[in-house]
Symmetry: C2
Subunit: 163 residues, 2 copies
C-alpha cells in the first residue's frame, strides 16, 4: 500500500520546531499589532506550551503569570491569531466535549488521528496529504488558507469489541 517510502506517514511525536520562543510575538509586532502585557503572556504560553491547548487550560496557565488576565482576553487573542493565520483551531472530533483546541501553525500541515478508546491524539504528516491539497487548490481554483484533516477510530489497543 505504502510501497513508496516517500508516501509513508511520519510519526507525530516530534517537537514543535516551528515555535521557537518569540515567534508569535515577532509576527504580531511585524504586522503592526499592539503587544500588551496580556498578549505577551498568552503568546509565550502558546509558543512553548503543550499542543492542543483549549481555552480553559490556556487561561489557567496564563493566570499563573498574570492572575487578573480575563477569559475574554483569551478568546479575543485567539481570534486575532486565527485571523492572522498564526494558529489553527481544531475540535479533535469532539473527543471530549465541544470545546476547541488551538495550536501554532507550522510550515507543514499535519493530520490529527484520534482514538475514541483511549483518547490519544497522534499528529501525522504525509506526502499524500500535501499532494491532495495541491490537487484541490488546482482543480477547485482555490487559494487555500486552512486545511484540516481529522481522523477518528480505534487504535490497536482499543479495537472495538463488536466490530
Amino acid at each position: 500500500m505504502s510501497a513508496n517510502p516517500a508516501n509513508r506517514v511520519s510519526s507525530g511525536e516530534r517537537i514543535n520546531i516551528t515555535s521557537e520562543p518569540g515567534r508569535l510575538e515577532q509576527e504580531l509586532s511585524r504586522r503592526g499589532k499592539r503587544l500588551t502585557r496580556q498578549r505577551r503572556t498568552l503568546l509565550r504560553i502558546i509558543d512553548t506550551a503543550p499542543r492542543h491547548l483549549n481555552v480553559e487550560v490556556l487561561l489557567r496557565l496564563a493566570r499563573r503569570a498574570d492572575p487578573r488576565l480575563n477569559r475574554v482576553t483569551v478568546y479575543r487573542t485567539l481570534d486575532l491569531l486565527k485571523r492572522e493565520g498564526l494558529v489553527d483551531e481544531l475540535d479533535l472530533l469532539h473527543l471530549r466535549g465541544h470545546q476547541h483546541y488551538y495550536e501554532t501553525r507550522g510550515p507543514r500541515d499535519h493530520i490529527h488521528v484520534a482514538c475514541f478508546g483511549c483518547g490519544k491524539v497522534r499528529e501525522v504528516e504525509s506526502e499524500l496529504f500535501d499532494r491532495l491539497k495541491q490537487q484541490i487548490e488546482g482543480d477547485c481554483d482555490m487559494q487555500i488558507t486552512v486545511a484540516r484533516m481529522e481522523i477518528g477510530g480505534y487504535c490497536s489497543r482499543c479495537r472495538r469489541p463488536g466490530l
Copy 2:
C-alpha cells in the same frame, strides 16, 4: 500536478445517491432501534433535505410536520445517528458561528471545500483522499470510523485582495 486522471477530484454537485428515502429508517429498524413518530419525522428530513443541516434548521423543518417536536429530541436523535455511524458531524471551519452541521454518511467520504468569501461549500471526492486514509489506517494501525477533511480559502471570485 494531477497528471493522472485517476487522481482528479470529482465535482461535488452530485445528488446524494446514498439517501434514497427510507434508508435511515430501515437502518435503525434493522439495528433494533425504536421508530417513534418523532424519529421518523427527523429521519425523513435528513434523508431528503438539503445537505449540511444544522440543529436549528432541522428543528424548524421538523416542526412543520410535528409542531410539538422538541429541540432536545433533535439532539438525541442526532447523537444516536452519530453513534450508529449513519451521519457525520461537521463544523465547516466555523464558517458561520460555532454550530455543527450534519449529513448522511454515504459509501464514500468526501472533502468539504469552503470559501471564506462567499460562504459556498463544495463537496469533493478524490482518489488521493481514499489512498491517504488507507495509508493512515495501515501505518498507524487504526480502525478508522470517521474521516473528516475540511479546506478553507478563497475561490477565484473571492480572491483575497492583499494576498
